[in-house]
Symmetry: C2
Subunit: 365 residues, 2 copies
């Protein structure tokens, strides 16, 4: 798994076993290899529209090589039977197109493993957003027959998958709730020169500025009805800079600003759960936000009737969750099972996702 | 099949049946749909490096739509079980990379058929040229246990596959011999304003200019040892223009120039056969050059010990041959059979080519 932040190549070595209608996905090993800097540079040039046709032709092959090396580091004995790879998003422009770069045939040839890739295109071709794809995994792994649950992912943005007790896939709902770590990280950078608030210590040391929180809560995205999605074009450094210039003052500790944005994040996630599944009793949190203990506490504060916990408690490493999801989606593709959820992506129908590259057959004929 | 000329989308509806170790490939229907002009324009912009990232993201999806429509026109009853698609070459840059654009998942979703695509990348990833891929098809379809044969393709350039009697795939040789129709077409355009020499009538009406022929025969490409390949960067309008300016004269009929370049083309193909497989007794010609009857006669003239015929005589439509080859290569990929020939492409090993997109499975789970 590689995301748009270009910071790492996440590799999750998973064992997938059918168990009745469902599957167990067990994480055997996980690591984040740094993106080779020259490759990250080339990708940034491509994202900026400054890459040549030669660059764009070479990029999927360079990515295949980088992914092959990252895999070998995590799986030196080559135990993996197949490699599921998301690829590097260069453009996402539904319903016209989406572009996750990696040469599947090159990765298969280099690793001598079956490769499954290009997971979003079929959904987009059928009128869908090509995203999110994690809700089906949430449903399979975290859904309960007896309890109304919610899967929360706190990455740059935060999103939720509503999992009513025994709910069918057809009625699955998933949407972004607003900022995840993005605003907290930005204010930490602005005020303390830190990339993030480790364990939420800064926020814990501060006090919420009520007027600032109330003002932020009026952001129109929060009131919007789902399905909805957001990104750095809405919640970003500009918004944080505006807050800083308005409220930073010698008499106000910078921790108060961190505290306020942490509160906003927890509130916005919880508020959507209250509004769209008030009966929720179990909340499973994945993504980097899990490591912000204060954020987790505030989320629990806003959801007094639910048990709020890391998805690690049910065997899913919160940092590895997305990579595990794509391993599982690749397994589904190999089984001929559909991988998108039309009620979530907006596609006209459910479809087998991706493209499969097999390696040298047993027969040279 | 779509080539770099951007003139048409060739669709060959083929029935493939295993017959012992080999297969029979029967052409059920063939047509060339014109490339939608706005799509051809977008591709030309991409080839010129003038396309935006949005254009390049959309292009594989637009191609998938155009291919889906071209398929439906040839196969209105939807009899095809699978669609094998070459894609539109945007860059070919071995051993670094190659780029045949088409979204396989989109085409599969739109046609509800299994799609096999991206045939050249695995070979390039293994150090090969990713081309030519037709020689394996020549071997399977045209090879004989008792006769030394040659498969010739006369497209823009001309190439040969040497097929010694009972020869194994490991020793297969294939290479370009020089110009195919490119110089003949260029001189027809220059002198008569015609796109090509229909049936070779112009060449037949003229006489070879011996001095011009001898001069052209000294082109260093012809003496070069195989493996070798060439293209429009070597044999092109510039060379023809040079010839025209040197030999065109009121006393010399323009037909003589057409005749001379036709002779050069026939000679260069035959000369390579003499040099690299003098024992050749059967020559099967495919590609558009077959329709130039005079060129075929001159080729036969230079190869008195061989029977020179169109591959139509053995059931392979010369215009549909390349498309039939890719249909068959896609079938091989589905069977887990290798599709490249390392002795021909230079790849480190033989490998299953391409990437396979399956459609909605039978199970919605």
């Amino acid at each position: 798994m590689t995301g748009t932040s270009l910071d790492a190549i996440d590799v999750a070595l998973c064992e997938i076993q059918p168990k009745g209608d469902r599957q167990t996905v067990t994480l055997r090993s996980f690591s984040s290899a740094p993106y080779p800097p020259e490759l990250a540079y080339l990708i940034r040039r491509a994202l900026d529209g400054a890459a040549s046709m030669e660059d764009l032709s070479d990029l999927p092959f360079l990515l295949a090589r980088a992914y092959a090396e990252a895999w070998r580091a995590v799986d030196p004995n080559g135990t993996a039977e197949a490699i599921s790879v998301h690829g590097q998003t260069l453009w996402h422009h539904p319903p016209e197109s989406t572009w996750q770069a990696v040469s599947g045939p090159a990765l298969a040839a280099l690793t001598e493993r079956t490769v499954i890739h290009d997971f979003r295109s079929a959904d987009v071709a059928l009128g869908g957003q090509g995203a999110p794809l994690v809700p089906l995994f949430d449903h399979a792994m975290l859904g309960s027959a007896t309890e109304d649950c919610v899967a929360v992912n706190i990455g740059g943005m935060a999103n939720v998958t509503l999992l009513p007790a025994g709910g069918s896939i057809d009625l699955l709902q998933a949407f972004d709730t607003g900022p995840g770590n993005v605003l907290i990280n930005a204010i930490c950078e602005r005020t303390f020169g830190k990339r993030f608030d480790a364990k939420g210590a800064l926020a814990r040391a501060g006090n919420v500025i009520p007027q600032a929180l109330e003002e932020l809560q009026t952001h129109p995205f929060f009131a919007q009805e789902p399905p909805k999605s957001t990104g750095r074009e809405v919640f970003n450094e500009v918004l944080v800079d505006h807050l800083y210039r308005r409220y930073a003052h010698p008499s106000i500790p910078s921790e108060d600003l961190v505290s306020t944005l942490t509160e906003l994040t927890a509130w916005s996630i919880a508020d959507h759960i209250h509004r769209y599944q008030p009966s929720t009793s179990g909340v499973f949190v994945g993504g980097g936000g899990v490591h912000n203990h204060f954020l987790m506490e505030r989320l629990a504060h806003y959801l007094p009737d639910a048990v709020v916990r890391s998805c690690a408690d049910v065997g899913i490493d919160p940092d590895a969750k997305e990579a595990m999801c794509f391993a599982w989606l690749g397994w589904r593709t190999q089984q001929g099972l559909v991988g998108n959820v039309p009620s979530v992506t907006g596609a006209r129908s459910a479809v087998v996702l991706g493209s499969v590259c097999r390696t040298a057959g047993t027969d040279g004929g």
